[in-house]
């Protein structure tokens, strides 16, 4: 494997182009991790749940992407149905982890607000 800045840059762009949802999930995980570092223990409870959701969503969405890629059914990044599928899958995971619909929406809302 040849290591160069060019290769690293291409690898990064390739990852973002091929797996945008997973990169987005890892960014959410980073922000949750930073919040855990910054804020006190009470807030950590929610952030740990966000990290857990990100972890499961990352793996599940990656499996779905690879399955569809093999079947050549997607044409990224125009495949909005794929994003909808990933979004619903993260909602299901969140609901399952938090065992509470109200809290699920509050956490997902928080995830989105992190970027505003």
């Amino acid at each position: 494997m040849k290591i160069s800045l060019d290769n690293l840059k291409n690898g990064l762009f390739e990852s973002v182009r091929r797996f945008p949802f997973q990169v987005f999930v890892s960014i959410i995980a980073t922000v949750a991790g930073w919040r855990m570092v910054k804020y006190n223990i009470d807030d950590t409870f929610v952030n740990i749940r966000v990290l857990l959701i990100c972890n499961l969503t990352f793996v599940l969405s990656l499996a779905i992407d690879l399955f569809l890629e093999r079947r050549k059914t997607t044409n990224r990044p125009e495949s909005y149905s794929l994003y909808s599928m990933h979004l619903s899958e993260s909602c299901c995971i969140s609901r399952w982890i938090l065992r509470n619909t109200k809290l699920t929406f509050s956490v997902l809302q928080r995830c989105l607000l992190l970027f505003i």
């Binding site: 690898g11 980073t30 065992r99």
Partner: protein
């Protein structure tokens, strides 16, 4: 799931193996690159801090989180193979993998096997019951064994590697007596204390290992079923009425019901079960054990703003009282009580007489600049240190402040506004020192203390939610 998602169809064993080889090596490479990058950056930051006398609060952690999530994931994703058909044709095998398996994984597995066999002989002779730790040793043996078999899978048919087939059969045959030992060890614990999530997981892994041992002896050419069956077992363990949360909750409620019925049973364990169920499933999960409606109580806790941990303990404590096992509750908690020391205005802080005010929780800056004077500020073990450019410093310790407050409480120097709240003046709840013509005052508007009657010799525990730094120029 990721390992087999692109290979659902039949007859692509080589492609499947090559794909997983790439993923396995990529995970190791990502970990190596991330580790080296973090160590390098951490050393660079440490050097800058030392050379320029700059304090970086939490910067190491921020960088660690970024590298562990974004960098590591992106690096891993960049290496996932694209051409799946090409993988099927690829028959390369890294020699390092064979060496790793032959000289590291297999010897490790053999060590586990020898320990377990000797232990099995020991308990057979002594006619004793197996220790709980054997479950983990058996898991270790199985993990190393399965990983070894997966890593050497493509070279098993080669002329000079005929030993692999013999090794594979011996591994699976030796697994059976160990699985019997595992089920006996975990069965004893389940019989005594019921099913918990951890015990359920061990049973599920045991069943999965039994299944793959039978399957592999019957049909040794397929390796795809290993991740597929593991994924199915994992999904069944986490979702549905047969899942770990569902079964362990039922079992723990039954255990608690037995403890409540037996008047002099294991009451401490009852408190532990209540704490666990309250934390994981909420108060309402224990509704079958009481006629008192728990939903409104849980709702009232949810509306409080005391913080998650505080409320969690209060929830468990309330349930202990409802289920009549409060008198067996945490002895340490009984021997201790909490109290608060507040300023007369409580939530209002007087700022009169000062020129500047800085909120130190959270501490957002490493330095303060006042009229061309720079002061570096840091906090460690509840002691705030302020240092000027000439490295002259002052230390303001909240520990020493609390120690003197505790003495004052013992001598009844504070007014009590209710059973556990004392009122102290602003000056009592603050510490001050001067540096470079400035007066620095650290004020803690509210301190919550825990006093333990039996452990008076220990440093008292205390908490505070806010620390304010006041600065005044001295003429």
């Amino acid at each position: 799931m990721v390992s087999f998602a692109p290979f659902f169809s039949k007859n692509n064993h080589n492609g499947f193996w090559q794909f997983n080889k790439v993923l396995f090596l990529r995970i190791l490479t990502s970990a190596l690159y991330s580790g080296v990058l973090y160590i390098g950056l951490a050393l660079a930051i440490w050097a800058v801090g030392k050379l320029w006398d700059i304090h970086f609060n939490n910067l190491y952690l921020y960088i660690f989180v970024f590298i562990a999530t974004v960098f590591n994931s992106t690096f891993f994703l960049a290496g996932i193979p694209k051409d799946f058909d090409e993988l099927e044709k690829n028959d390369s095998y890294p020699k390092g993998l064979k060496i790793f398996t032959q000289y590291i994984l297999i010897p490790l597995m053999t060590i586990y096997l020898v320990i377990l066999c000797l232990y099995e002989i020991k308990i057979l002779f002594q006619r004793t019951l197996p220790d709980g730790i054997v479950s983990w040793l058996i898991m270790g043996y199985a993990v190393f064994g399965i990983l070894s078999l997966l890593l050497i899978y493509p070279i098993r048919e080669e002329e000079n590697n005929k030993w692999i087939k013999t090794f594979s059969r011996i591994f699976y045959i030796m697994l059976f007596p160990l699985l019997v030992l595992l089920f006996i060890a975990i069965g004893i614990r389940i019989g005594d204390y019921g099913v918990t999530e951890e015990r359920y997981t061990i049973v599920a892994i045991g069943l999965w290992l039994t299944f793959i041992a039978f399957y592999s002896l019957w049909k040794s050419s397929s390796i795809k079923f290993i991740p597929i069956s593991l994924c199915l077992f994992a999904l069944l363990s986490v979702y549905g009425p047969q899942s770990a949360p569902s079964i362990s909750l039922k079992s723990q409620i039954n255990q608690l019901a037995k403890i409540i019925q037996t008047k002099n049973g294991e009451r401490d364990r009852g408190a532990g079960i209540i704490t666990h169920i309250t934390k994981e499933y909420g108060m309402t999960a224990l509704q079958p054990l009481t006629k008192v409606p728990l939903k409104p109580i849980e709702q009232s806790f949810a509306n409080r703003e005391n913080g998650y941990y505080n409320n969690r303990w209060k929830r468990a404590d309330t349930l202990g009282k409802i289920l009549h096992i409060d008198d067996y509750y945490d002895k340490d908690a009984i021997a201790s009580h909490s109290y608060s020391i507040v300023t007369p205005e409580q939530s209002v802080v007087k700022i009169k007489g000062y020129d500047y005010m800085i909120d130190l929780m959270p501490m957002n800056a490493d330095s303060i600049t006042i009229e061309n004077s720079v002061f570096y500020i840091s906090e460690q073990w509840r002691t705030y240190t302020l240092r000027n450019r000439n490295k002259k410093e002052i230390r303001l310790s909240i520990d020493s402040l609390v120690t003197s407050i505790r003495t004052d409480i013992k001598n009844n120097r504070f007014k009590k506004i209710n059973t556990d709240t004392y009122v102290a003046t602003d000056s009592v709840l603050s510490i001050s020192k001067t540096l470079d013509g400035y007066l620095f005052v650290i004020q803690v508007p509210k301190i919550i203390g825990i006093s333990r009657e039996e452990k008076d010799e220990e440093l008292p525990s205390y908490y505070f939610n806010n620390v304010i730094l006041f600065i005044k120029k001295i003429d």
